[in-house]
């Protein structure tokens, strides 16, 4: 029994000692002189960039177009098959895919600033910081995120004039779309990606955020207000009761027949077709390129896409 207690005590001590050596998230950069830039990133970490970064590595595919738009120079980038890679980054060294990084390659590039994905690359923070590589955890979802990240990126690269130009242009394009819309109060629900289960997207999803900008009311807001996530499995019965005017269905994958297929999938299922919006054919499939991943610089196009589906008459004079 004594042995057991002794063993147990040792075991406890071992745990305590070992956990004491665990990750230290506090950033210990002694900063006597002027720092180039101090940033609070999207995980609330305060990151100090002592000098203007010259060797930046981007770990999110969707960041690349934003970075290119504000003329940021990179030394390495993530490998990605989604979307287009800006010409000037095509030949850069690749460091693996976002979900499967080769972190040794990242370090080998000797970056002085790494742009990582919040919530996905946290496990690398400690390793990079212990190599004195500042890491910014970024999360880009909404149009406001796109604008604030463009600003941040241009600050880092010292191209703020360019940054402000790009942001102003995006804003103008969005306002152009919003100005054309009638002032109406339409209710919508946005289904996530599949007719096989009932998952609704909330206001902080991409499609949800755009619908909100267009002045649509998301019926799924009811009972989900406290949720932090951007989508949630929802009661189909509740949707029948709330009876939204319009149903959007975000899609995955591309191809010409996906919209037709998804529509058939929904209309052939009696559970779905008990919704008035489905019966009245007020039911639209949203393409993956705008509504699954953050559309970045294409936000105005995404906003216009949704607006045009509901108010085609407002856009008749355009191509």
């Amino acid at each position: 029994m004594k042995k057991k207690i002794a063993f147990f005590t040792l075991f406890l001590i071992a745990i305590l000692v070992l956990s004491g050596c665990g990750p230290k998230t506090e950033q210990n950069i002694t900063n006597n002189g002027q720092a180039y830039l101090t940033v609070t990133d999207d995980e609330g970490r305060k990151v100090v960039l002592l000098h203007k970064p010259e060797r930046i590595v981007a770990l999110a595919g969707s960041d690349l177009n934003l970075l290119a738009a504000v003329d940021v120079k990179l030394v390495g980038r993530v490998s990605t098959k989604v979307g287009s890679i800006p010409d000037k980054y095509k030949d850069l060294p690749e460091v693996g895919v976002t979900t499967g990084l080769n972190i040794e390659k990242v370090v080998a590039l000797k970056p002085d600033c790494v742009l990582a994905v919040a919530g996905q690359h946290d496990k690398y923070i400690q390793l990079l910081e212990s190599n004195n590589i500042p890491v910014l955890m970024l999360s880009i979802k909404s149009f406001a995120d796109v604008k604030s990240k463009l600003h941040l990126m241009s600050q880092i690269a010292g191209t703020e004039t360019k940054g402000n130009e790009v942001i102003a242009k995006l804003d103008n394009e969005v306002q152009d779309v919003l100005r054309k819309l009638p002032k109406e109060n339409k209710t919508v629900v946005i289904l996530h990606a599949t007719a096989k289960n009932v998952t609704v997207e909330l206001d902080n999803s991409i499609a949800g955020g755009i619908a909100k900008m267009l002045g649509f009311e998301n019926v799924a807001k009811r009972g989900t207000a406290e949720l932090k996530g951007n989508k949630v499995p929802y009661s189909l019965e509740e949707l029948v009761r709330r009876n939204p005017n319009i149903i959007f269905l975000t899609s995955m994958g591309s191809g010409s027949n996906i919209e037709k297929r998804m529509k058939e999938d929904v209309t052939s299922n009696p559970a779905w077709s008990s919704l008035d919006a489905v019966k009245n054919n007020r039911f639209y499939v949203l393409p993956e390129k705008y509504f699954l991943l953050n559309p970045g610089l294409n936000y105005p196009a995404a906003i216009k896409y949704m607006a045009q589906k509901i108010y085609p008459e407002a856009f008749v004079n355009e191509k």
Partner: protein, 342 residues
């Protein structure tokens, strides 16, 4: 396990209740549970609809929201849930006897991993073909089951080899599932929902897919009850009683595979029904398959419909996939069984 089950029935006998009366009592109890589950599933939801309203709606369908909800959402969903409960419970009960292993369930013969990988491949790589997910998941499930059976074959089938081959194949297919989920992290939501299993948006088309399997499977299982009893005695004894062990084993495994594959291809990978329901039934009614099979089927109906009602009501209007509720109840029960076994 056997000692446990005879204990319960034996205890009843000690109190002067005959074996058959006790079994009838248990069957009636499970039937009441099943009816209660169906009743609650029909009346509860984001809108509570009383039973008299339901009867009115059934007699004269009108085009109101509550009528739509009952006809096109709740009723088919309840039926699918009940049939899935029957299929998975029967499948598990059969496999536990055929494999002579208390931990056997549809997972062990590759049904879940086969249907899982097939479903995830469709959802992630070919989302445009999602309308084909049910038949393809069915093929995946049966394919994995056949594959495991062939791999385990060596001058006949030993249950332990089936189980080991099943574990190996399941982890092989599982690596494919994980790989896809990691490389397409933006598309995993549908795949995740598929992996936990749920009844949302299941309606009449799914009912028509699943009921023939449930009916035929139930009849075949009941016909096989006698053989299931004999198989439990061990292969030697069974052969001595003139049973063609290899044939019976392969035939009953096929029935179990069809039952489970039809259920899983419609609702996704519902965990634990196939494992816990037969055990729970066995604890109360004993190991005689003539009674255990109907008891498992009834308890399966009760467990799935009650869990689904709970999943719909507890965070309404947010709806949990029923698989989560089921595994939440299933895992502790499984541990309880393990404790009893030790």
């Amino acid at each position: 396990m056997k000692s446990n089950s005879t204990d319960t029935v034996g205890t009843a006998e000690r109190y002067g209740i005959s074996r058959n009366i006790w079994r009838m009592v248990v069957l009636v109890f499970f039937a009441v549970l099943a009816i209660l589950g169906v009743f609650l599933s029909l009346t509860k939801g984001s809108m509570n609809i009383s039973i008299s309203d339901i009867i009115n709606i059934l007699q004269s369908p009108i085009n109101s929201a509550s009528s739509q909800i009952i006809w096109n959402i709740r009723m088919p969903r309840t039926i699918v849930g009940a049939l899935v409960g029957v299929n998975l419970a029967l499948s598990g009960a059969i496999l536990q006897a055929v494999m002579r292993n208390p931990l056997a369930d549809p997972h062990i013969i590759g049904i879940s991993s086969g249907a899982g990988l097939a479903g995830v491949v469709i959802m992630i790589l070919f989302p445009a073909m999602e309308y084909l997910i049910t038949p393809i998941a069915f093929l995946g499930a049966m394919g994995a089951a056949i594959c495991i059976y062939i791999l385990a074959w060596k001058n006949g089938i030993k249950p332990v080899r089936v189980i080991l081959a099943g574990v190996a194949v399941a982890s092989f297919l599982g690596s494919g599932i994980s790989g896809l989920m990691i490389f397409y992290s933006d598309r995993v939501h549908g795949a995740l929902m598929w992996m936990v299993g749920g009844l949302a948006a299941r309606s009449w088309p799914q009912v028509t897919i699943i009921w023939p399997y449930a009916l035929v499977g139930l009849i075949l299982a009941l016909l096989g009850a006698r053989y299931l009893n004999i198989l439990q005695l061990g292969d030697e004894m069974a052969r001595g009683l003139g049973v063609n062990v290899e044939f019976v084993r392969i035939a009953l495994t096929a029935v179990a595979a069809l039952l489970a594959a039809s259920a899983v291809s419609v609702v996704g990978l519902l965990g634990f029904v196939g494992l816990i329901v037969p055990h729970a039934a066995r604890l109360l009614i004993g190991s005689d398959y003539r009674f255990l099979l109907p008891a498992s089927a009834l308890l399966g109906v009760g467990v799935v419909t009650l869990s689904d009602t709970f999943a719909r009501v507890v965070f309404s209007p947010i709806e949990l996939p029923v698989g989560i509720i089921m595994a939440f109840i299933g895992a502790p029960f499984f541990l309880f069984l393990l404790r009893r076994e030790l």
